[in-house]
Symmetry: C2
Subunit: 324 residues, 2 copies
C-alpha cells in the first residue's frame, strides 16, 4: 500500500490564471509520486484541465468554489464576505481535515496571511511571519524572516521570528544548529536602529539560539547565517531590491550582447536567470501556523507551483505529519 | 586671470592610505583645470608624493596634521580628543575660510557626519543626511536620501530629507522639478510602516515638492523618481544590498566563463563592473550643511577621489559659491 501526502492547492488568484496552476498540478503529480492534490476552484473547469493533461485521477480531488479573492480586496474583510472563495474554502479544508498536510496559493499575500492566522493559528496566537528562502552565495539557502507579514515589529517579535526560522530551516533542510543573524546597518554590536539594537540583546540572551550577530545588507545572501531576522519592512526591501538588481543586470547583459553583436554572451543570461529565478525557487512560506502554508509569487509559473508544492511536501515529510 | 575653486582634501582614513589619495589629487588637478586643492595630512610626505607626480604646485597647498581619526575611534569623542587630526583640521579650514568651497574625505563616516554637524551646521541645526547618487536604470541618477546619517527617523525628518535631496539634485544636475518618492513595501498609498505612512501624508501636503508617492525596493533604482527618501536604516539596506548583489552576479559570471571556457563572456564583466562600480561614482554626499562635504568609500581608489572632488566642484560651480 502506498503512503501519500495530500496538499491543498488554491487554483485562483495568480496572474496567469487557473490553467497555469492546473499545469503545475499535473507536473507536481508527475514529479512527486507520494503526492495527492486537492484542487480548489472552478471544479468542472479544473476537472477538464486535468483530464486534458492525463493526470492521475486517483490522486486528485476537488473542492468547488464560486468566488475569488483578488489583490484589490481588503484582505480581512474579504475573508468574511467571500465565504465561497477558493482561498477561504482551501483554508477551511486544511484547518479541519487531518489528512491535508498543508496548502499552496498564488494569490493575495495579505488575504493568505490574515486567513492563515484565522484558520491555522497556533494556540499562542503570536504573529505569523512570511519567510523567503533564497539561495546563499556560499551554496545552501538563507531564510529571510520576515519579508512582509509584520511591517512594524517589536524586539520580542523578532526573537519569535528567529525561533520560527530556526525550526523551519531545521525541518526543511535538516540544518542542525541553524546560525541566526539579524539584519543591521553595520557588523559591530551596537549598530542598528532602536528595534535592532534591542532585539540584538534579546537574541544574544537566548540560549537555544545560535546567534551570530549583525549581518549587513551587502552580506544578506552571502550565507553568513541560515536565518536572517528582520522586520517585514526591511525584509521586503532586501527581497525586492535583490530581484530588481538581478533583473536589471540581466537586462544590461542582453543590451550589451545586442550592441556588441556577441551572442555567445547570451549563454550567461540563461545561467543567471536560472540562478536568480525566484519563481522557480518558490515564494514565501507562512511560519508560525499549524500547517505549512506556502505562497507562490503572483507572477508564478507552473514551475513555481511545482517547487512550492515540493516545500509543503518536504516540510510535512520531515515533520512526520500523519498521512492517509 | 583664471578663476579657481579650492577644495579641501583630507588624505587620511582611507583603506589604501594617503599615497592613493595623493594620486587621486594629482589626477583631479589634471582633469579639472579650475581646481585648487588643499591637502590635509602629513605635509612633508604629501609634498613628496605630489612632487613625484609632477603636480602643479601653484594649485596646491597643505595643512599639516599629526593625528588620524580611524573607524575604531568613537566619532563624537575623537572630534574633541584628536584636535590635530586631519579630519578636524580639514573641517576647521572649510568652516573658517570663505575661499574653500567644500571638502572630501575617505575615512570614518560617523566622524565626518558628527564633524559636519559640529563645524558646518546650518542655522536651523536640523539633522544632516547622507545621500548616495546611484545610476538609474532609465539613465540619469537617483539620489537615495538618507543612507545612514539618521538611523531612526521621524516623519518630519523624512520631509526635511526630501527638501535636501530636491535642492541637491537640482544643483548638481539641473533637474528642474525633481520627482520625490518614498521607499515603501508596496506602491499603493497606505502601504508602509508607521514612519512611512505618516511621512507620506506630510510629503503629499508639501506644495513645493513634486511628490510621486511610494516606490518599492524592486524599483529603487529604476528611475521612477529623482530623489528616493527613506530612513538611514532602510537606505543603508538598499545601498549595500545593491552592491552585494551586483558583486555576486559579477562573480557568478566569472565562474561561468571559467567553467565553460568561454572567455568572450568576460567582456561583459568589464562592462558591468563599470556600470556598478560605486567607487568611481563617488561616495556619499552630506546634505544639510553649509558647504558640500563628500565622502568617498573607505575602499575608495584614486578614481573615486577624482569623482568625489568633481561632485564638490560641480556643486560649488552651480551654486555660484564665491571663488578666489
Amino acid at each position: 500500500m502506498n503512503k501519500y501526502y495530500t496538499v491543498v492547492l488554491d487554483t485562483e488568484g495568480s496572474d496567469k490564471g487557473p490553467a497555469m496552476v492546473a499545469e503545475g498540478a499535473a507536473l507536481s503529480l508527475e514529479k512527486y509520486p507520494e503526492l495527492k492534490l486537492v484542487l480548489v476552484g472552478n471544479e468542472s473547469a479544473l476537472r477538464a484541465e486535468m483530464e486534458k493533461r492525463g493526470a492521475d485521477a486517483d490522486r486528485l480531488s476537488y473542492i468547488n468554489a464560486t468566488e475569488v479573492i483578488t489583490n484589490y480586496d481588503n484582505p480581512s474583510v474579504a475573508l468574511f464576505t467571500k465565504r465561497d472563495s477558493s482561498l477561504v474554502k482551501a483554508l477551511e479544508a486544511v484547518s479541519i481535515n487531518d489528512e491535508y498536510v498543508g496548502m499552496v496559493n498564488a494569490g493575495s499575500t495579505g488575504a493568505l496571511l490574515a486567513g492563515s492566522l484565522r484558520y491555522l493559528a497556533t494556540p499562542d496566537m503570536k504573529r505569523p511571519a512570511l519567510a523567503a528562502v533564497l539561495p546563499a552565495e556560499s551554496g545552501g539557502f538563507t531564510a529571510l524572516v520576515d519579508t512582509g507579514a509584520t511591517i512594524d515589529c517589536t524586539p520580542a517579535q523578532l526573537v519569535h521570528f528567529a525561533h520560527l526560522g530556526k525550526e523551519f530551516i531545521k525541518t526543511l533542510y535538516g540544518v542542525e544548529n541553524p546560525r541566526i543573524g539579524i539584519l543591521s546597518n553595520g557588523k559591530e554590536e551596537g549598530k542598528g536602529n532602536k528595534l535592532v539594537k534591542e532585539a540584538y540583546q534579546l537574541l544574544k540572551a537566548e540560549r537555544e539560539l545560535n546567534f551570530v550577530g549583525n549581518i549587513e545588507g551587502t552580506n544578506a545572501l552571502s550565507g553568513d547565517c541560515d536565518v536572517l531576522v528582520c522586520d517585514g519592512f526591511a525584509g521586503n526591501q532586501i527581497l525586492k531590491c535583490t530581484e530588481g538588481i538581478a533583473r536589471r543586470i540581466i537586462k544590461d547583459i542582453v543590451v550589451f550582447s545586442k550592441k556588441t553583436g556577441d551572442e555567445s554572451i547570451m549563454r550567461v543570461v540563461g545561467h543567471l536567470m536560472k540562478l536568480y529565478d525566484f519563481n522557480s525557487l518558490g515564494g514565501g512560506v507562512v511560519l508560525g501556523v499549524r500547517k505549512p502554508v506556502v505562497k507562490a509569487h503572483g507572477a508564478a509559473n507552473e514551475q513555481s507551483i511545482v517547487s512550492t508544492v515540493g516545500i509543503v511536501l518536504n516540510l510535512a515529510k520531515n515533520k512526520k505529519i500523519e498521512y492517509k
